[in-house]
């Protein structure tokens, strides 16, 4: 719209929420399969779930929840004019994302070194339900990990715009939307953690 430049904040946020719905439905397909296969193989899901380390999953949950806190506060900080604080909080968020991914790397490495990965000989000797569990585990955490990386990149992009004052105390909707995306990454994990790491210990 030329002439009168005006940003529709509500519209921008609404568009972002609609996009988040599509992300929820995307992961929804995986949760659907989880629900169906859990109903079919309850015992195998329990025995396979015991292979996952609660400390890795729980630690990563803490990391993500804390990073979400940083992002939430950073918006308040920016709107109160505390630009440096805002940038530090966002930087910490990216550090949290890195910690999460490093954790994930060690977790996956441990699994793979035990011969548990899609198509491995060890997997082929498992019960059918256990194979399904691990296939789902790799696909869900893999897709989630991809979203962590994308989320970190989006936050980094928002940081650049804040540094350049393109996003500021009067015009912060890009940070708000980047934050919404990051919180979605957290939300997905809130469900992944109990479903995969805590199933009947």
């Amino acid at each position: 719209m030329s002439g009168h430049v005006h940003k529709d904040y509500t519209g921008a946020k609404f568009g972002m929420w609609l996009f988040l719905f599509t992300e929820v439905l995307l992961f929804g397909g995986l949760f659907l399969l989880y629900a169906v296969y859990l109903a079919r193989y309850p015992q195998e899901f329990i025995s396979a779930g015991k292979e996952l380390n609660v400390w890795f999953g729980g630690g990563n949950t803490m990391v993500l929840l804390t990073s979400s806190l940083f992002v939430a506060i950073s918006i308040t900080a920016l709107r109160r004019g505390a630009k440096t604080l805002c940038l530090r909080l966002l930087g910490s968020t990216i550090v949290c994302a890195a910690i999460f991914m490093v954790n994930k790397y060690f977790e996956w490495s441990a699994k793979i070194s035990h011969g548990i990965y899609p198509g491995s000989d060890h997997m082929k000797e498992m019960q059918p339900g256990e194979m399904v569990f691990f296939n789902l585990y790799y696909l869900t955490t893999g897709l989630h990990g991809l979203h962590v990386i994308i989320g970190a990149l989006v936050i980094a992009w928002a940081m650049i715009l804040i540094k350049k004052d393109r996003v500021n105390a009067d015009d912060w909707v890009i940070l708000e939307n980047a934050g919404l995306y990051w919180h979605l990454v957290d939300l997905i994990w809130i469900f992944v953690f109990p479903l995969y790491y805590l199933i009947l210990h």
């Binding site: 002439g3 568009g15 899609p118």
Partner: protein
């Protein structure tokens, strides 16, 4: 509506007001009308490719045995025909082309809510289309699974299904972004006085469609992603050898692909709902009922996916439940048909080409819809499942429905966009030829299907020869009609006589501005709406 006319800066409206030189005026434009035309011409091109493939399929079936292509080529050809027609023509057809061209004008907006995202969606569409075409010539050859990509075959075939899956994912992303753009636009950018109950029914149908695009499309995204993963890294979630369940692929596939048929048909219903009042010179009968039925179709359409799977081996309970739910969807569709007929009743009917195409929509869609009930009833479906009856049914609703609505939209709105008129007599003749060819082609398919001819084979037993030959002859008549129609309308929009602002006497906003519309659609002042979209008296047309 108040006077929103301004002196146009040029006779060619937005065509003369590109922001960038040459071809970049199109490739970098964020103007909704230019993006709409980019979509339109790509969609027409893919339609022509898809239609040619369809003609080749019919030619192969002219006689039993191998006539012009081998079994493998036939499999690849019908897969390609399906993928192109579904993902590159019907799904984006009306929403992305005419939705972009017309919807913002109808609600008095200067553009969509996210113009750059709109252009990005088009690039995703083109990328997906190029990848889909590339999958034919690379890897292990063209996919031969049919457009449904059912496992286990799609997970095992050596043909290039992986790349086709990536293409579908990207096309789905494009569709999602268009949907969220439209929902936001309709919520946020309506002009003063454009209350919800004054929104033209075409825009209402796009609103309902856009919600399906947002909520159902991600599921096909994850489905093809899982298929890709199964093929590439061996995560056999649908592989019985790894504890997976192939039927779950069908569930996930149809959770999207059944709502997707409403992505295809709802905008077509919207076009018809907009055209019929204008050519009956009467307010639309049951405006609110049509609005509610659009939303009801969008919702009920997400409850019925498993009626594609009665013979798949899923539980009898599921067959029963989904068969029951399926009949619910027929209700809102029938509400629309009755409202259209009631609008026509005692109207002063103008038999111009847009109305003729809209009327053929009603006829063909109703036949298609009623044969859909045969398929929706589980007991009858077991008999005709995977026969040519199904092929006839979905061509009636998809081609006879959405295809005809697309042609109706072309004849209705292209004169507005290009500012020139086609030859109405030739358009009428082409329409008549098409409808005759259509009926011969697809009724033959339905009968031969009832007799038991299965779909997706390049060969058949000799008893089916005469009906197949009749169908093939019908396809030729249909093709003649199509060529005549396209030639006439394209000649018209480039060389025809100039039309005024309002050639049909419409009362909605797009008819109150110059043809072609200027950049940003309206003058300095935003329009103020004071009456409904079909209030011809207050609009000063009657």
């Amino acid at each position: 509506m108040s006077d929103v006319r301004t002196t146009p800066t040029s006779d060619r409206g937005f065509f003369d007001e590109g922001q960038y030189p040459g071809i970049f005026a199109w490739l970098l434009s964020t103007d909704h009308k230019r993006i709409g035309l980019l979509y339109f011409w790509c969609i027409i091109a893919f339609f022509c490719v898809g239609a040619t493939l369809g003609l080749l399929l019919r030619l192969e079936l002219f006689a039993p045995g191998e006539t012009i292509m081998s079994a493998q080529t036939y499999n690849a050809t019908f897969t390609l025909h399906g993928v192109i027609m579904i993902f590159l023509f019907i799904i984006p057809g009306i929403p992305a082309a005419f939705g972009n061209l017309i919807m913002p004008i109808q609600i008095g907006a200067r553009d969509v809510a996210f113009p750059k995202l709109n252009l990005f969606s088009w690039y995703l569409y083109i990328t997906g289309a190029i990848l889909a075409v590339t999958s034919l010539f690379t890897g292990g050859g063209p996919p031969d699974t049919g457009w449904t990509f059912y496992v286990p075959f799609s997970a095992q075939t050596s043909t290039n299904v992986s790349l086709a899956a990536v293409a579908v994912f990207i096309l789905g992303f494009s569709s999602i972004l268009t949907g969220l753009n439209f929902v936001t636009t309709i919520h946020r950018l309506r002009t003063e006085g454009m209350t919800w109950m004054r929104i033209p029914l075409f825009t209402w149908s796009l609103y309902a469609t856009a919600w399906i695009q947002i909520l159902a499309t991600p599921v096909i995204g994850i489905t093809v992603a899982l298929l890709f993963a199964e093929r590439v890294i061996g995560t056999g979630l649908f592989d019985p050898a790894q504890g997976g369940d192939p039927i779950m692929f069908q569930h996930l596939f149809w959770i999207y692909s059944h709502p997707a048929v409403y992505i295809m048909i709802l905008p077509g219903m919207g076009v018809v709902s907009d055209i019929i009042p204008v050519f009956s010179r009467k307010p639309c009968f049951g405006y609110k009922a049509i609005v509610v039925s659009s939303l009801a179709i969008a919702f009920a359409g997400s409850l019925v996916w498993a009626h594609h799977m009665y013979t798949s081996g899923m539980s009898d309970m599921a067959v029963l439940v989904f068969s029951f739910l399926t009949f619910i969807v027929a209700i809102p569709s029938a509400i629309k048909v009755f409202n259209w007929l009631a609008t026509l009743y005692e109207g002063s009917i103008l038999l111009d080409p847009p109305l003729l195409y809209a009327l053929s929509f009603i006829l063909l869609f109703t036949i298609g819809g009623l044969t859909g009930l045969v398929l929706g009833a589980a007991a009858a479906d077991v008999h005709v499942h995977d026969t040519y009856f199904v092929v006839g049914h979905f061509h009636f609703v998809m081609f006879g429905g959405t295809g005809m609505a697309f042609f109706a939209a072309m004849h209705y709105w292209l004169p507005k966009i290009y500012g020139r008129m086609y030859d109405k007599t030739i358009a009428t003749v082409a329409w008549a030829i098409m409808v005759i060819g259509f009926l011969i082609l697809y009724i033959s398919m339905k009968i031969v299907g009832m007799q038991g001819m299965p779909r997706r084979y390049y060969d058949y037993v000799p008893e089916f020869t005469s009906l197949n030959q009749l169908a093939t002859v019908g396809s030729w008549i249909l093709a003649v009609g199509l060529v005549l129609m396209f030639a006439n309308i394209f000649r018209g929009i480039f060389k025809g006589d100039p039309v005024g602002d309002n050639p049909w006497g419409g009362a909605s906003l797009e008819w109150q501005i110059p043809s072609p519309p200027p950049m940003e659609n309206f003058g300095e002042e935003d329009p103020v709406v004071t009456h409904g979209p079909y209030d011809f008296t207050k609009a000063g047309i009657l």
